[in-house]
């Protein structure tokens, strides 16, 4: 027997009504055509070109990083191809003094925020000098514990607010990350304090092997922000213009004292989860891969820019060559980092006086390392 409907209340309908509201926001379609003229952020020609350069650079960085990892010249690496618009167009809406609290896959944003490439490589190799951040570079090292950056971002946002700064914090996680308690706590805190935070959920469809559909019964991840009482939007994460416009809008609201925003960017990761043995063919088919490749952010932005006479094969090759050269140089520079020593670790951890027993350890390792 079907459940009887009560005319006075209908929670099922409430849910459906909210879910229906989350249309995917798009400006530039798969064919590189503007389909939402009013929402076009109207970036200047220089800005459009710069954003494209960053995306192409990042695609090359991804390809090279995968190759370098296979040669044993990099350590931990989480591929980014497919997520360029989500990562770089969201970042493009930030200012230099804004903060970024990244997940482990969000290295490109850090680089364009000012993290030297060779340091990103050192971080990948597991060298502490990769996180020896320059003064005024408002980032955290990539976060390994999923969700931790979300609660911390709420703290940074409150700090900025208390200090009266005209800046925001942006933090990223994946579709899987939205299942962590920290995700809910982070968006709820920032909402409760009306703090200037932008929470980006990069929905690349999989958390390692677990598809989005196993992650939650919610139809969108963006709707989770509604429960925390914060503005939330679902964006085509492979459309750089839409991602940029949504982030820019969120930033303005945050600076006006209107609190945080949640942005779900619908995208795809073409590669494996990380280079540490994940085999995506175990959990997805090549059909799904090619379906998403049709929406490639670089292809569609290229088409758009070419039609405006802002892009050419020649220009793209220049970026590719520059990227390759810079990567080569950065690897060389990373190779020159000193070998890590236990005495360094002890020195970094114990600023000021070492406790007696630690000093003893320091002496033992000093002797060992002098041999």
């Amino acid at each position: 027997m079907a459940a009887k409907k009560n005319a006075q209340f209908d929670p099922v309908n409430t849910l459906h009504e909210i879910e229906e509201k989350f249309d995917m926001f798009q400006i530039l379609n798969e064919d590189g055509k503007i389909v939402n003229e009013e929402a076009d952020p109207k970036l200047s020609d220089e800005e459009l070109t710069e954003l494209m350069e960053r995306m192409v650079y990042t695609r090359i960085l991804d390809q090279r990083s995968i190759a370098l990892n296979r040669q044993g010249r990099l350590g931990f690496y989480a591929p980014t191809a497919g997520q360029e618009a989500s990562q770089l167009a969201s970042h493009y809406a930030l200012e230099k003094d804004d903060f970024i609290l990244p997940g482990y896959r969000d290295v490109p944003q850090l680089i364009f925020h000012g993290l030297p490439l060779h340091m990103a490589f050192l971080w990948s190799r597991g060298h502490y000098l990769g996180s020896d951040l320059a003064e005024g570079l408002n980032i955290f090292p990539p976060q390994i514990i999923i969700g931790a950056q979300y609660v911390q971002a709420a703290g940074v946002a409150l700090g900025l607010q208390k200090r009266g700064k005209k800046n925001v914090v942006m933090t990223y996680t994946g579709d899987g990350g939205t299942s962590q308690g920290d995700f809910y706590e982070g968006i709820n805190f920032a909402g409760a304090f009306r703090s200037p935070a932008i929470f980006v959920v990069q929905n690349n469809q999989y958390a390692i092997s677990t598809p989005r559909s196993v992650q939650t019964a919610a139809k969108t991840l963006a709707q989770k922000g509604i429960a925390a009482g914060i503005p939330s939007i679902l964006v085509d994460g492979m459309d750089p213009l839409a991602v940029y416009a949504a982030t820019k809008d969120a930033r303005e609201r945050a600076l006006n004292g209107d609190g945080p925003t949640l942005i779900e960017t619908m995208c795809y990761r073409y590669g494996p989860h990380t280079m540490a043995g994940d085999d995506p063919t175990r959990y997805r088919t090549s059909d799904i891969d090619s379906e998403w490749e049709k929406r490639d952010p670089i292809v569609r932005f290229r088409t758009y820019l070419e039609a405006k006479n802002l892009w050419s094969e020649e220009k793209e090759n220049e970026v590719i060559e520059r990227a390759k050269q810079e990567i080569k140089d950065a690897i060389k520079q990373a190779d020159q980092a000193p070998k890590q020593k236990v005495t360094d670790f002890l020195k970094i951890m114990y600023k000021g006086d070492m406790p007696y027993n630690v000093k003893e350890q320091f002496d033992i390792y000093t002797e060992k390392e002098s041999k």
Binding site: G126, I144, G177, S179, G181, A207, K341, F345, L346, Q361
Partner: protein, 325 residues
């Protein structure tokens, strides 16, 4: 009998218990279709179906709470925490809740939960993956903490853990997963929890270790043998509760001991072992009991871990100090 790596033995233990007891459920992040990021649950979903072997959303505290709730409805949850560095996300369920289930219900309810997790260093993982956090859970009464060092032990101990009425944290050293094979019976067998094993007999000094450090200790024992010293290697296997009888019997025989752990000096299990020896066997000792441990920093970044981790040479050197005392 089949030759198995430790990870195969672990899979085999779960398969055996899934077969033997319909209340056994296996779940965690990526354990289903993917068979776990290390393939510890490889093939189990296919064999037993998605009702019994399943992926969860990405939330360790959720997984822990789920296990406690399922145990209240008569299931025997075998949950996987993908890496033990993520213990902090689930510590309330493990230490705060499951451990006291029996106590707070006047013994009426228990929590027959097995919490499996890879841990341990030397395999160049990112931060928060390799940390030796066994001391944190071992300091909580109500939980057993098991750390096998061989494929044979791993299967027998894991089956015991699944059958145990208490919450058991079962830690699998990543470096041991595929480092060697051993004969492992295909049928069910158990190794009692809380029982250490003498992995090598000797008469001059006792080396007490667990996990990957057992293998390092065996190498050290070989090196010591070349110098004319006979070392006994005791593998704790269960680090909470400790097998005090085996430890004391060995120390009373050799009159000298060192305790080896991969964890930092201020963390872990070694200090407990030393205390037990001091309280019970001080008069048998010819020298102080020394420890071999990692230094007191957080687990270092990947590229520096091999200089940080204790190894066979450190063990040999410390053993000699005790022998020459």
């Amino acid at each position: 009998m089949a030759q198995m790596t430790m990870i195969q033995a672990i899979t085999d233990a779960m398969r055996t218990e899934l077969k033997n007891d319909e209340n056994v459920l296996v779940f965690g992040e990526d354990v289903g279709k993917n068979g776990g990021v290390f393939r510890a649950t490889e093939g189990l979903q296919k064999e037993f179906g998605e009702e019994r072997v399943f992926d969860t959303p990405l939330a360790e505290s959720g997984i822990g709470g789920l296990a406690i709730g399922l145990s209240l409805t008569g299931f025997r949850p075998v949950m996987e925490i993908q890496f033990f560095g993520f213990l902090f996300e689930v510590i309330d369920s493990v230490s705060g809740q499951a451990a006291r289930q029996s106590f707070r219900t006047a013994g009426k309810l228990n929590a027959p939960i097995t919490i499996r997790s890879p841990f341990g260093g030397g395999v160049a993982t990112p931060e928060m993956h390799a940390d030796s956090l066994e001391g944190i859970v071992a300091s909580q009464p109500g939980i057993k903490v098991v750390i096998p060092s061989t494929p044979y032990d791993a299967k027998g101990l894991l089956i015991s853990a699944i059958k145990d009425e208490n919450p058991v944290v079962f830690l699998e050293h990543m470096k041991l997963y595929r480092s060697f094979r051993q004969e492992v019976p295909e049928e069910e067998y158990t190794i009692p929890l809380g029982k250490a094993d003498v992995k090598r007999e000797g008469s001059d000094i006792t080396i007490i270790a667990y996990g990957a450090m057992v293998q390092e200790s065996l190498k050290a024992a070989e090196a010591l043998e070349k110098d004319g010293h006979s070392a006994e290697v005791v593998d704790l296997r269960t680090v909470q509760p400790l097998d005090v009888e085996t430890i004391i019997a060995s120390v009373e025989k050799t009159n000298r001991a060192i305790v080896v752990q991969e964890a930092q000096r201020q963390a872990g299990i070694a200090a407990n072992v030393v205390s037990e020896i001091m309280e019970r066997a001080v008069l048998s000792l010819e020298a102080p009991v020394l420890r071999v441990t990692a230094p007191d920093t957080v687990y270092p970044f990947a590229q520096g871990e091999n200089t940080w981790l204790p190894n066979a040479a450190d063990i040999t050197e410390t053993a000699k100090k005790v022998l020459d005392f």
